[in-house]
Symmetry: C2
Subunit: 136 residues, 2 copies
């Protein structure tokens, strides 16, 4: 079980790398060299970031990608939603059915509390905060 999957992880690395570079347009090939992510896979990820409004793409020769917003406004929670679907940790398997006996979803209530905490923590992590050196 992983909170962050490979797509999301690659997306974070790519966004950090783009954010750190003065050049405001980077081609996939530039990123591949630095990040060691298979090129076709990284392309797919960047295309998705573009579709979701986190990157701007430039087609044709000399094209590439640049950030569509400042790093502080790019949140890990958003990336997880894009690449892993919702952030829910607690979809009930028995939506209609009442859980038998007294165990009627006191479990769900407890896990909901955990979920809320995790979500709020993930919403506090931005690309900017991951870039700041010296930050713990």
């Amino acid at each position: 079980m992983n909170l962050i999957n490979r797509d999301t992880d690659y997306a974070i690395r790519a966004l950090c790398f783009i954010a750190q570079h003065k050049k405001e347009r980077l081609a996939v090939s530039d990123l591949v060299k630095a990040l060691k992510i298979p090129q076709p896979f990284l392309r797919k990820i960047l295309q998705k970031l573009n579709k979701n409004g986190l990157l701007i793409s430039y087609k044709g020769q000399g094209g590439g990608f640049s950030l569509a917003r400042i790093p502080r406004k790019i949140l890990i929670s958003h990336l997880i939603k894009i690449f892993q679907g919702s952030l829910r940790l607690n979809e009930c398997f028995f939506k209609k059915q009442r859980c038998p006996e007294t165990n009627d979803c006191s479990l769900k209530k407890r896990v909901d509390i955990i979920e809320k905490h995790v979500i709020s923590e993930l919403e506090s992590i931005s690309i900017a905060s991951l870039m700041r050196k010296g930050r713990d």
Copy 2:
């Protein structure tokens, strides 16, 4: 993404049900009636709970299962470990490789903190605490 999968969920229900019953031996067929879990699947789950020391099994006619320890000592975190493997939310995909640039796993550090919180919360949930009525 779900913190608790179906195996674990069924295990929790089964354990709660057994714990609530005065009869200290319950056969799979008794549980199936009450919990509406497919019998062969539930059997597999109970066998695993037996192997992991949470249930005691009695073979032969009149056999069944009983709790191997008091409900307060059966923790959700333990069940997750049994049915879903480790509780880690944060296995690094790049164990040896250093993450490129300055982004060297400040992400991991942040997620580790979240993980610790989730684990400690799950360790605080026991079968006993799920059975107590009125507990929110």
